[in-house]
């Protein structure tokens, strides 16, 4: 009896190694992300500035604290939020291609942001919204989240009628398409300046988030992640399918509602601030599963956070190509460097099929 419980214990130990390794990697890339950019700042200086000491060069301090620190924190938050949202969607819909962007979460957020940027003229352009500081932060985050939540509530309402998750997934994709065509029509009738703001938003950017905005983004994403972690037992139960989950006493409807709401909170807020960032939500859960070789959400959710943050930091490093003052759109980079990595991992490890039969 005692020998049988042993494998569980050894598995926990191997996770501690992976988790601490991931934590160190996130920390290292976080500091690296602060050090790299159009102005290169030595590692040691970065650490000194972060610990509150004065830097060797007076200009470095504001660069780190005002510009790069919010961007790096945003990268961590966005990476974690989108990845966990994707993981939840993949488990709920038992579909390896699911992510926050299906189900119209991203489309809904786009509609919300488009509504703010394209309708009310110059005052609420992205620039103006950001100038408003915290209040403006709320406008974009609310627009993005409300847009995402509207679409998701619609899907949730349908989900009580449709018990089949695959059907629900298709409904979600269709609703997403409808939402995006609404945005298209809106764009068609918009002024060029408004359009430009909106298009810039769709490229995705981590740099537009200031420390004041983080006061909004951080608690929202934090709440979402905590809720996601609290739903890990339910998500595990859903792995066996809804019928089994129900037979084991899991409140299916409540679980489904919680998962959908958490995802809309996570993906909606990040999309509102940083624009629609693709790829991360679909790919990082697969990377994490390949790394850990488990489907247990109690370990998968924290690790997905870490891998998501790490991936986003790496993408940000590549986006602000070292040695140049050019910053590429983050949305392009995530897919550009991420997709080959995912293809390689899936082919070499072959456990995509293990996760989704």
């Amino acid at each position: 009896m005692i020998t049988q419980t042993k494998p569980v214990k050894t598995r926990t130990r191997s996770y501690t190694l992976i988790v601490s390794g991931l934590c160190l990697a996130v920390l290292a890339f976080f500091v690296l992300d602060l050090a790299m950019g159009s102005v290169r700042i030595p590692w040691m200086e970065v650490v000194q500035i972060l610990s509150g000491k004065t830097a060797g060069e007076p200009a470095w301090q504001p660069i780190i604290l005002k510009l790069r620190l919010p961007k790096a924190i945003t990268a961590v938050l966005a990476g974690a939020a989108l990845s966990v949202g994707g993981l939840q969607m993949q488990t709920l819909f038992r579909n390896p291609l699911a992510g926050p962007s299906v189900l119209g979460v991203t489309a809904g957020a786009s509609l919300g942001v488009a509504a703010v940027m394209l309708t009310t003229g110059g005052m609420t352009t992205l620039y103006a919204v950001r100038q408003l500081g915290l209040a403006g932060g709320w406008v974009v985050i609310l627009a993005g989240s409300l847009g995402a939540a509207t679409v998701l509530l619609l899907i949730l309402a349908i989900s009580f009628k449709v018990s089949d998750n695959v059907v629900l997934l298709i409904v979600g994709i269709m609703l997403g398409n409808v939402t995006l065509s609404l945005v298209s029509i809106w764009q068609y009738f918009s002024q060029p300046e408004q359009l430009k703001d909106y298009l810039l938003w769709t490229f995705g950017s981590l740099g537009g988030v200031t420390l004041t905005h983080l006061k909004v983004l951080l608690p929202v994403v934090g709440t979402g992640l905590v809720l996601a972690f609290f739903s890990s037992k339910w998500l595990n139960g859903l792995l066996l399918g809804e019928n089994y989950a129900r037979s084991m006493g899991l409140p299916i409807n409540r679980a489904r509602t919680l998962v959908i709401l958490t995802t809309s909170l996570l993906a909606g807020s990040v999309t509102g601030f940083c624009g629609p960032i693709g790829f991360i939500g679909i790919a990082v859960p697969h990377l994490t599963r390949a790394l850990l070789n488990t489907a247990d959400h109690r370990i998968l959710i924290p690790c997905t956070c870490l891998v998501g943050a790490l991936t986003m930091l790496v993408c940000d490093l590549v986006a602000q190509w070292p040695g140049s003052s050019l910053t590429l759109p983050i949305n392009a980079i995530t897919a550009l460097i991420g997709s080959p990595v995912v293809i390689w991992i899936i082919i070499s490890r072959n456990n995509l099929r293990a996760s989704f039969g």
């Binding site: 494998p7 899991l250 409140p251 099929r353 996760s355 039969g357």
Partner: protein
């Protein structure tokens, strides 16, 4: 558990979907410590009945009571402590070890994180041990065969530690040894733990051997009883009788009815008789029927070697194998019969 405890009752239960009523006026009772097999043709509503009893599907009318409480009044968690299920749903997720899947059976008892107490772990170990999946415990579900996976799902249901276990066709897709293994396991569980097992199956012969009760489901309703009573009263025959199927009272199995008009007389004893009969029936002969036989076959056992004497009219053929007998039997000319119109 006391054998007389009533676990589940249904009262005027009607099952089906809003556009199609499958069965109605079902009044059933499940006692503690019995194994019940649910039999019925495809599409008659066996799975729907199982799902309705498990609270996964709403009844159209009537109610299901679990230990006296109406099912719909029970909380999901309480219900999960009363009934566990093994479904035909294929579990697609492979990135879980068998141990983890079995441990999920403890969900109705654990907190929000699903952390297992020492007691929970003991129950999981017991379930793994009694189902014989100890060697599979660390393997991933993905790498298991259908039979192994089925055993793991049964172990999971056991870990749920419920007085009633519902299994929907647990032996389908399994080969004979695995099928017998699972059936023996269920039988043993019922006997040793006093749990009640309700399983649906298509294997009538198996059900007749192992079930304490049979539930026969047909288009007119549902009939319950001890298997032997249902056989002797001819109920089984009525329910399953279809064109060309004949229920053999002595063996408890269905046989293809002789499709020809040919009749043969067969004399002999023991296994040789039974197997010769099967061979001749396959060739379209009715054995020892009321019709005048075309020929007579006598099985003789001399010094351990069997031989068959085929007598037609005046001639007698001596055959040393069933194969030889069949060759000769098929050369017998048919008597002249009135020509049937096509």
């Amino acid at each position: 558990m006391d054998k007389q405890t009533t676990i589940l009752t249904t009262h005027k239960l009607a099952i089906g979907y809003h556009h199609r009523r499958l069965a109605q006026d079902i009044n059933l009772r499940l006692q503690g410590g019995e194994l019940v097999c649910l039999l019925g043709a495809n599409g008659v509503g066996k799975s729907t009945l199982m799902r309705t009893l498990a609270g996964m599907h709403p009844p159209l009318a009537g109610e299901v009571r679990i230990e006296g409480t109406p099912l719909h009044q029970l909380k999901a968690r309480t219900l999960a402590q009363k009934i566990s299920v093994v479904l035909t749903d294929r579990v697609a997720t492979g990135n879980l070890s068998a141990w983890q899947v079995v441990a999920m059976g403890r969900y109705p008892y654990t907190g929000w994180m699903g952390k297992l107490s020492v007691q929970d772990q003991k129950v999981v170990e017991w379930a793994i041990d009694i189902t014989g999946v100890v060697p599979l415990a660390d393997r991933h579900l993905h790498h298991l065969s259908d039979g192994e996976r089925q055993k793991v799902m049964i172990a999971r249901a056991l870990a749920q530690d419920t007085p009633l276990i519902l299994l929907d066709e647990p032996t389908v897709h399994l080969d004979l040894p695995n099928r017998m293994g699972i059936v023996r396991l269920l039988r043993r569980l019922v006997k040793e733990t006093g749990k009640t097992v309700l399983m649906s199956t298509h294997a009538l012969d198996l059900a007749l051997q192992i079930a304490d009760q049979l539930w026969l489901m047909h288009h007119r309703g549902l009939q319950a009883g001890v298997p032997e009573d249902l056989v002797l009263s001819g109920t089984i025959e009525q329910v399953f009788q279809k064109e060309g199927l004949q229920f053999d009272l002595s063996t408890g199995a269905f046989r293809l009815q002789a499709f020809g008009d040919k009749s043969i007389a067969l004399y002999g004893l023991g296994p040789a008789f039974v197997w010769t009969q099967r061979a001749l029936e396959r060739e379209g002969f009715a054995i020892n029927s009321k019709k005048p036989p075309l020929a007579t076959v006598e099985i003789q056992d001399t010094e351990g070697t069997t031989c068959w004497l085929l007598k037609t009219g005046s001639s007698t053929k001596h055959c040393t194998s069933v194969a030889e007998l069949l060759t000769y039997v098929n050369t017998i000319p048919l008597p002249v019969q009135p020509v049937k119109s096509l």
